[in-house]
Amino acid sequence: MVDMAFLLVTFFLLATTFKTGEVVGVQMPRSVAGLNLPMTDLLTISVDKKGQAYLSMTSPQARRAWLQKHAQVNQINYTEEEYKTFELIPGFGVPMSQLRTLLQTPAEERKRFKQNGIPIKGDKNELADWVILARVTIPRLRIAIKADANTPFRQVEDVINTLTDINVLRFTLITQPKKLEDNAGY
């Protein structure tokens, strides 16, 4: 019996991929259709109920390359520690002006840092900038939108329009699985 237990432990040890923390809690709508998400090289734009946008990138290496590109374009010199922090955080939702401050905050306080989303409106469309940087840095990047079920469509429309304006015409909407027999949503 103990052997069985150890076998199981070993299996789970090797099979788990730890779920990285989420940058913002989003309750996604459910859908029947849809394929399982690709796990590699995915840039997720999370939109919460209030319409604030947060960005997360899948792998730490990708995040580092992304930040390096950002540093290059905006001529900022991040320290090695800031790079390491960026690799670790699951995502962020702050304007570029606050990014450095966020990275310099120690881990405990970072959880309480008020991240109010990445600006989308008007001429300060930082979301577009980040997405462009990501596409340039990572080949075969896929983009997904993870919006709360109760987000007013207007906010999601802004994100979609941002993407189509920078010529991203193919993206994924992330949903929770649902069986065909289940009633629609409500």
Binding site: V2, A5, F6, L8, V9, F12, L13, A15, T16, T17, F18, K19, M28, P29, R30, S31, V32, A33, G34, L35, N36, L37, P38, V47, A144, K146, A147, D148, A149, N150, T151, P152, F153, R154, Q155, V156, E157, I160, N161, L163, T164, D165, L169, R170, F171, T172, L173, I174, T175, Q176, P177, L180, N183, A184, G185, Y186
Partner: protein
């Protein structure tokens, strides 16, 4: 946990130990088994067996007013069905071109929406559906609509903005339209 009997004492009851008779060391393995089960439980709970799904969306090339009107006109009105998703989970639709009498409401569930779509697919040769979510409706509504497109195998559908004309028609039909 470990019990070391220096001198095997024949008068005491012998415990069941791993190494019987070897300097009398008996180890109690219960704790290790407990640890093993603890670890097992931990890993069982931390695996993510559930993978969220992703629905692929392909948007048309953005607003070139000319290409947009050209594409829309190429669709015969009789083959088109337009849905307008309003806030508070209300769904309205009309066939073909918008007319005051044509706007009807339908519910989101199987009996309403899915049945409507199945009839539409059966009747029409090349069905085309336009999805027009009102900016104040919930994102979930759009996801349900796209999901129904996939379920009913409607290949040609597009997401578009609600036009002023349609808003006026909704108001004329007595449907409350939030002021923007």
């Amino acid at each position: 946990m470990l019990d070391i009997d220096e001198i095997p004492n024949p008068n005491r009851m012998r415990r069941m130990g791993k190494e019987k008779g070897k300097a009398g060391i008996t180890t109690d393995m219960n704790s290790m088994v407990d640890m093993a089960f603890l670890l097992l439980t931990f890993f069982m709970l931390s695996t993510t067996m559930y993978r969220p799904r992703g629905m692929e969306l392909v948007m048309p090339v953005p607003d070139d007013a000319e290409t947009r009107t050209q594409e829309v006109q190429a669709v015969k009105a009789s083959q088109a069905l337009t849905f307008i998703a309003m806030p508070e989970n209300k769904l309205y639709y009309y066939r073909g071109l918008p007319t005051p009498a044509g706007i009807q409401s339908v519910s989101y569930d199987k009996t309403g929406l899915r049945q409507l779509l199945q009839e539409f697919v059966n009747e029409t040769e090349k069905p085309v559906v336009l999805l027009k979510p009102h900016p104040d409706c919930a994102f979930e509504n759009l996801v349900i609509l796209i999901d129904e497109m996939n379920i009913n195998r409607i290949a040609r559908y597009a997401i578009d903005k609600v036009s002023e004309e349609e808003l006026a028609l909704l108001r004329a039909a007595g449907i409350p339209v939030p002021t923007q």
